[in-house]
Symmetry: C2
Subunit: 445 residues, 2 copies
């Protein structure tokens, strides 16, 4: 059986390990952090992610879907909080029953590592930092405890070592490897809302959103009845308006009065004192493979801004697509890698662009009448033609239609709508001209 060396035991690395365990390959996973299962839990500091259809399908194939979904909180709609702190507007994500699931990142990661370890040919090496890959010698170099260098031989290396992938960086001068990394102007700070009288302080089954033009607050529920809250704002805004405790308090009181009450002044100020805004990066590259030896997956191949909630889902789908591709090519590694990359690059580029576009949308668009109208219109047509007219967000979130086909479908929808509008305008014009003509004939003009 071939041997796969996986760099990184994060979400995508651990899921890949599950897949290759199932294939019966020898699996070695190298992770520079300690085993997350042995690390201390800090209550009220959980980070959550939104699991949608692509992620679910990828978990299903290794028998984890049911369990993971049960451990999450269903979200059925966006709930927009107005600036008065009292009124809201509700935007369902799709048809009744369609929803995403807020899940705890750490719990998910732990479950997947344990699942992969059940395979008898799977080994995890924690505190082993992957340094580089040699394509000629087909070796990966790993550093243990800052000193000991280990050379790992394998038939395939999968780099799941995140946006700052050491594997990708060690290969970045390979000929014809296109690459870009771009930071957006926005940074983010994470906060928490604790339970109130032993229950959720806000409605749990919605995605809470406080859009305020160029800055935005969001909140997602956790099963422990807390909420993970994130503020996104330009770095310049953090500097100008949130640099002193007094400013932070004034800023939140003014823009998010209801959230301010729930977060609590002490927690808010303590967090802003302790942490600095984190940056957000968008990464594209192509191809995703280096010859017949290395494949980039997850954030190592396609980090995206978090505004479509697809980062993890896309990474999970990578594992599923790789599995399907290896099936299609009967484990012929060179053929499978180049077919995978050929296919996957265009899909990941599409979702990266959509996530960037949604960055604009989340900032402001959700409050615009034209946007709301289109959302309603899309859902209305979707109810009439459930197979033909699927809204963009639904195709991304509730189907496994390849991302680039989603955009082609959307273009077709837009064209049709445009024609309908044109027909409408034409009809009105004809009617008006006929009216004028009639009027003229009747001597009114």
């Amino acid at each position: 059986m071939p041997k796969v060396a996986i760099a990184g035991a994060g979400l995508v690395g651990a899921l890949n390990a599950c897949y290759f365990a199932q294939r019966g390959w020898d699996v070695e996973v190298y992770e520079y952090r300690r085993d997350i299962r042995t690390m201390e839990h800090v209550p009220g500091r959980s980070i959550n992610l939104a699991l949608s259809q692509r992620g679910k399908c990828a978990l299903e194939a290794v028998g984890l879907k049911e369990y993971i979904v049960e451990q999450g909180v269903e979200l059925h709609a966006r709930l927009v909080h107005n600036v008065d702190g009292k009124t809201f507007s509700r935007q369902p994500y799709g048809q009744p029953g369609e929803h995403i699931v807020s899940i705890n990142r750490r719990h998910l990661n732990e479950v997947m590592i344990s699942q992969a370890e059940k395979g008898k040919n799977v080994k995890f090496f924690f505190e082993h930092k992957v340094r580089s890959v040699d394509l000629e010698k087909k070796e990966m170099t790993v550093v243990f405890v800052k000193e000991v260098e280990i050379v790992v031989k394998a038939d395939l290396v999968i780099a799941c070592d995140g946006a700052y992938s050491a594997v990708r960086r060690s290969l970045s001068t390979q000929p014809r490897f296109d690459y870009s990394q771009e930071y957006i102007d926005h940074g983010y700070v994470e906060l928490n809302i604790l339970p109130k009288n032993g229950d959720y302080a806000l409605e749990p089954n919605v995605f809470h959103l406080w859009p305020r033009g160029h800055f935005t607050l969001i909140a997602l529920a956790n099963i422990d009845k807390t909420f993970t809250v994130t503020i996104f704002a330009p770095f310049s805004e953090f500097e100008k308006k949130m640099s002193t405790p007094k400013d932070v308090e004034a800023f939140f009181r003014k823009n998010f009065p209801d959230a301010f009450e729930l977060l609590g002044r002490d927690h808010l100020l303590e967090t802003f004192r302790r942490v600095r805004p984190q940056s957000l990066i968008s990464i594209k590259c192509q191809p995703h493979n280096f010859g017949d030896f290395v494949l980039l997956a997850g954030d190592a191949a396609h980090a995206m801004v978090p505004f479509y909630g697809q980062g993890m889902n896309c990474g999970f789908e990578d594992c599923l697509v790789l599995n399907e591709t290896l099936d299609a090519y009967s484990d012929d590694i060179p053929k499978a890698l180049s077919a995978y990359s050929e296919n996957r690059v265009k899909d990941t580029h599409t979702i990266i662009d959509l996530a960037m576009y949604n960055y604009e949308e989340l900032k402001d668009l959700v409050n615009r009448p034209s946007y709301k109208l289109r959302k309603k219109f899309d859902l209305f047509l979707n109810r009439l033609f459930p197979k033909t007219w699927i809204p963009l967000y639904s195709m991304i979130t509730f189907t496994r239609i390849p991302y680039h086909e989603v955009v082609e479908n959307r273009k077709w929808q837009d064209k049709l709508l445009c024609k309908l509008q044109f027909s409408f305008i034409a009809a009105v014009t004809v009617a008006t001209v006929a009216g004028l003509y009639g009027a003229r004939r009747r001597g009114f003009l």
Copy 2:
């Protein structure tokens, strides 16, 4: 006096060393190759570059311009070779007297290293490979003879270590560093035309060009009466049409019959047997500085495709702009670095885009009537209004107008031309309508 550590003793590194020697700083230059002055010369294997105004200005400030220009060959026009191998069309670069200079890369590099070494506080370390930079400790790590690691302390590091800059790579995960690298579909192979009866085999004072749609041949004269010839073609074209000696010969005979005769069958086939097409990369990043310690210059900051002949000129202008900026801020390094980057990023991004645009132009545009007409029209207006109407190519090549202003000027020109066209069409329409009206009145219609 502050100390500057320069990574790379190529063209931009050596010129920077000249500048800082003049400023009186302590200068150390680390270069991973051997001293180019001690390396063997291979006749007929010279690579040349086109020096234009920006490069000349940068050389002038360190007293090298006259000497370097004397050692080059003036080019006054493009000479387009038609596919029949017998007819040509000539496109002057600018007004009479305006020209670029074909110079030998290696000779230029040698002269600049020797010039810098005249400074008493300048040291060159050859066969010293720069590995990484630590921004916290303000150190640069250099490896000597594959084993010995040296830690260099300095007040400023200038990374002139080329498109694959080790300094830039070691810092690529710094927050908010935007970066992209893109390979184009074209590769290139270099060839040579030797002297014929002791003289140039082609007219020396022009840039020879054989545009053939998606592939192109160019030739530039050297002072030793040889020509450096380069063929640019998509990799797929090299594979399909130039993979066997028979194919190479047929391809050149068909597309470049006159050049084929001068290159000679043996040289052509021998070269294609020995070398594989090289790839071409375009690199953008921002900012160009890392905090108050590191500055990227030349290809390390902005590698571009070679189709505007500005790669070296832009790199040389970097040195000049840095010198001007240090003057403006009285050697205050933090202020100078951020001002330099703020200013230089937009200019380098512009020339990178223009070079990519010229890639299209060189491929085909030069043969299109509309393009030729605009060229002639531009030169005509330039003669009438020499200060106001400068053609795009002339602003880039014969002035030091910042690159981004060049493009703004061009947009203004385009707008004006568009208006003139509109007025022309309007005038014709009015005349026609008036004519019709007149005709009607006279009863012809």
